[in-house]
Symmetry: D3
Subunit: 225 residues, 6 copies
């Protein structure tokens, strides 16, 4: 199976060797079982720290995005350092290079690509580009909710959504000030158009990623094409 794994920066947890190591181990296991794996790593806390400082100093959003992208690439390099020789040696900065690694059965690892796009969208685009069988968003929340669970007691997690429903749900959430979706709107639209099966789950425990790939089981949200 060809899998694209979107690994949030907070989920990777660059300051926690055990967590990073556990993610690397899951990826290695999947490769050893014959799967092909591409990983897109997000920015997380460290990216937010840089962005916070730069924003306070008057940087514009494009500069902030570029700082964020740089940080996702450091995170990606950290994951590469934790992976065996089956992985690429440095983060890919475009889809072609990542796609080439996948064709050679190497673990492709990348961060952000260009300002104006999150790594959510990059993940969906890589899945589309590489004709992945499964796209897994390992996020810090347990799936897609009807509303922000922290702010709204009635918020419930969707067990399954069609890709078109996902687009609607995300569009709604993005219109609510302060609310944040586990996957952004551009990503949702790419998922809808590509028809790649997608799962959004709580990735803080890396074992959940292994489980969804090998058995299909998970406690997150299934996005069915």
């Amino acid at each position: 199976m060809k899998i694209v794994l979107s690994l949030g920066g907070s989920v990777l947890a660059p300051r926690d060797p055990e967590r990073v190591g556990a993610h690397a181990e899951v990826i290695e296991d999947l490769v050893n079982e014959g799967h092909s794996v591409g990983v897109v790593v997000g920015g997380g806390t460290i990216a937010r720290e840089y962005i916070h400082t730069a924003r306070a100093l008057g940087a514009n959003e494009i500069e902030l995005d570029q700082l964020g992208i740089d940080t996702t690439r450091v995170n990606a390099r950290l994951l590469i350092a934790a992976l065996s020789e089956r992985a690429v040696t440095s983060p890919a900065t475009d889809y072609e290079t990542a796609g080439e690694a996948l064709r050679r059965d190497e673990v492709a690892v990348m961060g952000g690509i260009a300002p104006g796009q999150t790594t959510d969208a990059v993940s969906a685009a890589l899945a589309e580009y590489a004709n992945a069988d499964l796209l897994v968003y390992a996020t810090s929340v347990p799936g897609v909710y009807s509303a922000d669970p922290a702010a709204d007691d009635d918020a419930h997690r969707f067990e399954e959504l069609s890709a078109t429903e996902l687009v609607d749900v995300i569009a709604d959430i993005e219109m609510t000030a302060g609310a944040s979706a586990p996957v952004d709107l551009l990503a949702a639209k790419i998922i809808e158009r590509s028809g790649v099966r997608t799962v959004v789950l709580d990735g803080t425990d890396p074992a959940r990623v292994a489980r969804v790939v090998t058995s299909g089981d998970h406690d997150g949200t299934d996005i069915v094409p």
Copy 2:
């Protein structure tokens, strides 16, 4: 004044030397009047031809985007060939390089940046990055309409919209199957967040671009921050 000009591929008209020359002349004139000009060129007919063929052959959307980006860069190089020595010598492929050219009072010219983003969005992002005073979309339609004027007799052109209204209008249009907006949603959101004054106008006559910069007059749609 610092201006970012979004020049649609159909507006540039690569097969029509007179049109290309007229656009180049307007840009030169603006520079000679002391303005600083960055241009983002779109794909137009030739991009659509490549994309049509590739789609028929089963290419995915990321590959199509990449073909489109390549074509925008050929268009950009054509415009550069028509400009005097005040322009950069080759299309910029990131905002930093374009921004550097602007700082040196060169005409910055670029095409697309990365899959998943149109040159509409790149234009808005360059305007934000470079702190432009004015963003002009020279498109093949005369402004932003309430609906698709080709399909709906009641469609009317907005003379003025706030950036937030623009986002709403575009979001509505994008939800209507078959309809196309003169500026896409990501661009609209960047315009909203950056607060750059923006004009959407019919750019098939390059004189209109000169007019809006020098006098502020135009028959298009004003997006006010």
Copy 3:
């Protein structure tokens, strides 16, 4: 067998999905039969359109060449999009990268390299660099003629030429105003020096390329070392 295929831009026909698809299929078939294939794609109509406009606007020949090279690379990317995962993911821009792809049994695809050289010459150079067994020029004419067949009724097609004779014939044609050779002089000289067996044929029907590789039969011109 290691083959370099020079695919004229007009022969590839970027606006005709069927033609592009047929070329891609022939290449895939050759690879499946165990051949190693490098393809150099030319500029064709679209390149000529850009060059026509730029020339009318006063661009110099180096700028025109660069526009042409850009277009050959878009054509090359289109062919890549039509090929299966056995091909490279983006056009090579130097011989080393193309050569590396061939060593890994990938289909190498490239366009032009640098101003002052046509893709005819790039094809011959790639054949020399990669020690190809066969170089096929799939052009829009059926072979090498003694004179321009459109202008001269006595023009006849050569069935076979030594590489040295080819150089002489091409040198003569290039001195005739208005005449154009199916292969340019620099290419002919590289063929002569490298000793790679070469066939010039009408490539508008992709099946002819398959036929010359698998059976050696063709209705074009054989250049024997």
Copy 4:
């Protein structure tokens, strides 16, 4: 005066907008006074965090260096975001590019260059390459000490050292397990060979950098050629 400023990562303090802003302001002031300024930014806490995790996961020293270099470049980009349009738009990755910026009276900003070298050494090399008049190490300690002041009560700060004495002092410190010098041995050797006047001072207060440039006064250590 042409100045190269080595700004330790901990001194820049990427999580503290005020500190970063104060450093940017000092640099701007120097430029406004007519000085030419090149800045080399170190890794600091964030680099150490990445390196700590990667080392725990078995990365080798070259991989750790590469992670560190990446982080110095994010720090450099943060400083760029805080600087005005007089600075380069992205971190230089070699001396030639940094040198070119200095020639154009832009503030050159860079991080690390290659594994096996600290930003201490890069700073000294940039000073040598650009024929700087003054090299300032803004570190987290107040100068060069005879021993580690934290471990040895008899440690005293040198007010002045010849470059050759600096090499000896640093060589001694590097042989002491656990001790760390404010400037490493390779940097000291480059300082010795280049003969650039150098000051090592406590840079946590950016005003000290301004003071040493404008008046020559400081409470650190003077390295005289």
Copy 5:
């Protein structure tokens, strides 16, 4: 005046500091007099040594060309090291970059560009690209001869040739086994098409280059458009 200087590798003489220094001084003087100078450096003895070894080891012509190009770039870097800060910091590898340096009144320095072209041709192409007023070939022979002066007593130097005559003379020389022209055929054709005034002279004494620019006097061959 905008000048492109083609400096043969043997003329530059990388092992002779005095000669290299004298060439650098002439270039600096021209710049100080207000001229704009682009220099294309050839390979010379060192390139021939590398090529001789590689040919003996079975390298093909494209590999030999690449070795030659690499060496021209080292020669170019040597010349840069001898020039003042008015020159670029590293050799340009395409015409756009060289052209940009010229626009900024920097001395552009480059070596070869791509296999299949000598630095003779690169010089002519840079002159064409940059719309130079004068192209000077500083070679190891005193001009263009009717035949190889070493082999033929009747060989005489042309004082003046039209560009079209130059093409004919060079074409004749290239057909004579063993003979070598001071400028190759591709270069001659580019000179013919571009109409740039060209002088071929003995450049072993750098003062001759200064003389032809400042006074128009020389003992070489004038190629008039």
Copy 6:
């Protein structure tokens, strides 16, 4: 076994096809026996010639280093031309690219990386990065000596040294004016930290490299971790 071979420029002898060919043959033989080989090529005589000229003309040490690095890369390309298709097609310019070639069982070939580091240090760093089993320094002297054998009659060759002893010996030699060590201090420190088994031997006869790999025998100096 994974081997990194440090091939001094004088040992490679670019002007001597037989010597270059013999080195290439040894490397091919090792690959055919199943070993994985990375080669780092030094500058040698030609680098020294360029550096001598540039120093006489006032170039600074960073410029000299850059000239040296360029030359090591030409040397590396020469070796590549002499190797079969099992080698990379162009010299790697960073450890990641070289490491990737090794993973694909290609012969990785590289020269210098960045100013401030010799190819001695690059060799040790590549060995560390790639987790090599053996690092062989093929130098122009027969091993590590207690003093400069040319200057001191009592100088004796060490048969075996611990890596820590190596660092001390080299540090001593580097402090002696005029003396030169077969391996520099930075390299020695990287060897010490990485624990890679290292042999320093006279590489003018390539057979010695083959011998130490296949049998462990040599007449040089063993550096044991």
